[in-house]
């Protein structure tokens, strides 16, 4: 066994490739010179404290914010890698509601609170042209089961749901079109610890079962420990450390990462 014999197997082409992404708000830096790639089925965690630029980064990636510089290449189903910043708005919106999912921290931002749970899930299929009520409903109920919501609540409005149920419904609403990439912004924020665990486990199972790639922004290290294959640590708009999740969390090198890891309460 010698090093000269080293050969690497060909990697899967990246699903999303970001390079040199920067975004400022006037003199205030949002995120600066971010580059990374996400491969199909890979879960990337982005951690950092409030104001570290992780939400700005997520907003740029998901097309809600226009970055100042950089490119975001996405491997589109029918046309291969495309810089999504060059897509016209309808194409980007279509991408965002078919091949992508966006799970907001606050379910109110990602759900129609006055529309029944079934209708919330059915919206994406209907937007893609589904016109058979029975099929739409069957598919919606299938997803309600997957996210562990009692089918008796199919026709109830999410306004009457608990926070955890709303978050699970939001996930179902996003995953129904089988997206290949899901963006999640603090998916467990604001939930009770017991509810968090259930949601995390559910997400973990769905991500594995569907082979969906995900980018999860959070400040909760337990979330990334459980869900993310890889981790990026952000501070003041920059990525200061990245690697496999267990490497970064168990053997942090950067002073800030060490502080972050050592600050977590052990239970």
């Amino acid at each position: 066994m010698t090093a000269s014999a080293l050969r690497k197997p060909a990697p899967k082409p990246p699903l999303l490739e970001v390079s040199g992404l920067s975004k400022s708000y006037g003199t205030q830096v949002g995120c600066r010179d971010i580059s990374f790639a996400v491969r199909p089925g890979e879960v990337l965690g982005i951690v950092g404290e409030s104001g570290s630029g992780k939400s700005t980064l997520l907003a740029c990636l998901s097309g809600r914010l226009q970055p100042d510089t950089g490119s975001i290449s996405y491997d589109m189903k029918d046309r291969g890698p495309v810089d999504i910043l060059t897509l016209c708005e309808p194409e980007r919106r279509r991408l965002a509601r078919t091949d992508w999912g966006i799970v907001h921290q606050n379910p109110r931002d990602g759900l129609r609170l006055d529309v029944s749970a079934g209708g919330n899930i059915g919206e994406r299929p209907m937007a893609l042209g589904a016109r058979h009520y029975g099929n739409i409903r069957t598919e919606a109920q299938d997803w309600l089961q997957k996210v562990e919501i009692d089918l008796a609540r199919t026709d109830d409005r999410p306004r009457t749901f608990s926070g955890g149920m709303q978050q699970r419904l939001q996930i179902a609403r996003n995953l129904v079109t089988r997206p290949r990439l899901v963006f999640m912004d603090e998916p467990t924020g604001g939930l009770d610890v017991s509810v968090q665990a259930r949601l995390l486990d559910l997400l973990r199972g769905l991500v594995r079962e569907l082979g969906v790639a995900a980018i999860i922004v959070t400040h909760d290290l337990a979330v990334v420990r459980l869900l993310a294959d890889r981790l990026m640590v952000m501070q003041r708009g920059r990525v200061i450390e990245e690697g496999l999740t267990d490497q970064v969390l168990d053997d942090p090198h950067h002073p800030y990462t060490q502080l972050l890891v050592s600050s977590v309460l052990q239970v």
Binding site: G119, E123, M126, Y133
Partner: protein, 299 residues
């Protein structure tokens, strides 16, 4: 409709059809644009009219822009020619445009309407002007206009289908009975104004020009002659119009849209045609017909 409108047609001090010529040209340009992009809501510089918003200011401005001295004007409100709104608007145009008015759908060249499409089929050359309170069909789903404009621009109408889904989920059927959303020319989602869904099929492939004016919202849209107007539905819950068990108590029609009338304080009721011209014509024909049996049949 005639192109040549004369200034100061009558001596009452108003320009012909109330609006000044510049305003009419502005509205006509909007109308042409609306006809070019069926179902698309064209903004226009709506003027203050001598009646309150909600009483047909949009419809009046559209009528004023297209009416000429040779036109025959019919105005209906809920199908009737003799209701307050209809009478007032008809009288308004008699005053400011001195045009011939009629109650006959057959004779009229311009029909301004609130909440109905006449039962008598329209012909080429006729113009149907709708008064529209809320032109935006997506408004209840998406209150931001910046967003609804994008939804129209990109034909993102999934959310509208969601409202129909909600109806079926809660009531077992699509419960919307008026202002029933339709796709025009296979492209734009349109509010047909608060006509009963009974009238929606009449919009489809109609030989007449259909113009819609919303005064408060300052929007104009149109359906050109012979254009497809498809009411939204589901494959397994297809679009259906209202039906009645009985027939019109006055003319015996079984095919027209019927209104329920309470006739006394003891709750007696009868169903009669909402389209008064249609009903009256049939009654007259039945009276003049030598055979009584004809009364039960369609004119």
């Amino acid at each position: 409709m005639s192109a040549g409108t004369t200034m100061n047609h009558s001596d009452n001090g108003y320009n012909f059809a109330y609006l000044d010529e510049q305003t009419k040209r502005m509205i006509r340009r909007s109308l042409l644009k609306a006809l070019s992009i069926p179902g698309y809501q064209v903004p226009f510089g709506g003027r203050e009219m001598p009646l309150a918003y909600g009483w047909g200011t949009g419809g009046i401005q559209v009528t004023a822009a297209v009416i000429g001295p040779d036109d025959w004007l019919k105005v209906i409100d809920q199908g009737a020619d003799d209701t307050t709104n209809a009478v007032s608007i008809r009288r308004f145009f008699q005053t400011v445009a001195d045009v011939a008015v009629t109650e006959s759908t057959e004779v009229a060249t311009i029909i301004q309407t609130r909440h109905r499409i006449p039962e008598t089929p329209l012909k080429e050359g006729q113009v149907l002007v709708y008064q529209v309170p809320q032109p935006e069909p997506l408004q209840k789903i998406e209150p931001r206009e910046t967003e609804t404009r994008k939804m129209h621009a990109y034909a993102e109408y999934g959310a509208m289908q969601v409202t129909l889904y909600e109806d079926v989920a809660h009531f077992g059927r699509i419960a919307k009975t008026y202002d029933y959303p339709a796709i025009v020319n296979g492209r734009h989602l349109m509010s047909p104004s608060p006509i009963p869904k009974f009238d929606n099929p009449k919009m489809e492939n109609n030989p007449a020009i259909q113009l819609f004016g919303a005064g408060r919202e300052k929007r104009i849209y149109a359906v050109p002659p012979y254009t497809s107007v498809r009411s939204l539905d589901f494959d397994d819950h297809p679009f259906e119009v209202q039906t009645w068990k009985g027939s019109c108590a006055l003319c015996g029609s079984t095919t027209s849209y019927l209104d329920e009338m309470i006739t006394d304080d003891r709750g007696s009721r009868m169903f009669v045609c909402s389209d008064t011209d249609f009903c009256n014509t049939r009654q007259a024909e039945a009276a003049s017909a030598p055979d009584d049996k004809a009364a039960g049949e369609d004119a």
